[in-house]
């Protein structure tokens, strides 16, 4: 049966734990990926992005001196960032909701909780390929649209994070949907 051939994609792994880097690399190689670079610090990774030009970054959260969250922020918002749109999978031991939201709010593309499995990693890679999300730029955020499904809905937006920023995105999206709706219904 046919399946996704991701062998041409380039991956950058950033994790301060050697064993984890090795394991992620072994899994990617099993997916037939050939171009993989692994680094133990975010500083090194920021330099390497420019040279290696990865298609996808897989990074840990807890690292020193720069942690994964600051690393993602730098990629998404720094003027020196080489590619603000690189898909980033955060691979972490944190499973609490507040952590997932924190990572989402700095602009990660996918979140994967350790222990890692090949099925889990492949599903995140597939999601990045199949559902590339539009990027949103607001006063406080730059990153993939935090609402994954585009859908029409009646009534109030009941999302948990009701910051002005997110409300503004919802308002703008509603306007766009309304326009599209009018086009279709005349």
């Amino acid at each position: 049966m046919a399946g996704y051939d991701i062998s041409k994609l380039k991956f950058l792994i950033v994790d301060d734990n050697k064993g984890m880097r090795k394991l992620v690399k072994v899994i990617l190689k099993a997916f037939n990926v050939k171009n993989i670079i692994e680094l133990e610090t975010c500083e090194g990774a920021l330099n390497e992005i420019r040279l290696f030009k990865p298609d996808i970054i897989i990074c840990d959260w807890e690292m020193k001196p720069i942690n994964g969250i600051s690393f993602v922020k730098k990629i998404r918002t720094s003027n020196k960032s080489f590619d603000k749109f690189i898909p980033i999978i955060m691979l972490t031991g944190y499973s609490e909701r507040k952590r997932v939201i924190e990572a989402r709010d700095v602009g990660i593309s996918e979140y994967l909780v350790k222990p890692i499995s090949s099925k889990g990693l492949f599903s995140r890679i597939r999601s990045i390929i199949e559902n590339p999300r539009v990027f949103v730029k607001t006063k406080d955020y730059f990153g993939p649209d935090r609402r994954r499904k585009q859908m029409w809905f009646k009534g109030e937006d009941r999302r948990h994070n009701k910051s002005k920023d997110i409300k503004a995105v919802a308002k703008a999206r509603a306007k766009i949907i309304e326009k599209e709706k009018k086009k279709i219904t005349g």
Binding site: M1, G3, D5, S117, A172
Partner: protein, 167 residues
Amino acid sequence: MNDNIEPEFINPPQNLKSKVDFNDNGIDMAALEKVEEGINKIVVEKLSVDYMETAVKDVEKLQALYNEANSSDDKIKDNFKKMFDVVHDMKGQGGSFGYDLVSSLCDSFCHVLEKVENPSVKHLVLIKLHIDAVQFVLAKEMTGKGGKDGAQMLEGIKAVVAKVLKS
């Protein structure tokens, strides 16, 4: 500052679909099952050796931090934070390398280290309990969830944690 600035929607310039093929060499569900089996074999045969070395060193670090905290009250709070970094890493690694019970024990350990706002001597009992349990699991090479013994151990530790944190 004007809060009503309209958000801008931008399509990423690079679309990965152009670099990905859908063919017979690709990964489908059956291939993914094989990959999973192959990875598990590599983990058991090769990677778990490196993991064990790292895990044993981590336990030694925890033991040293515990000893320091046990001998000086001033060190308890700081060492709880230091321990969290080590235990959090161990939580993520355990199950990844076939030691699911280590991950579960470290999950409970992290819970203690995070939950206690003002750690004191009475909480050190919980720290010692977790360190000893993880050390035992590694020494006996209790892979996976550790079977019935592992389940009982975890259940017992969680009961003690609940009791001490409630008191």
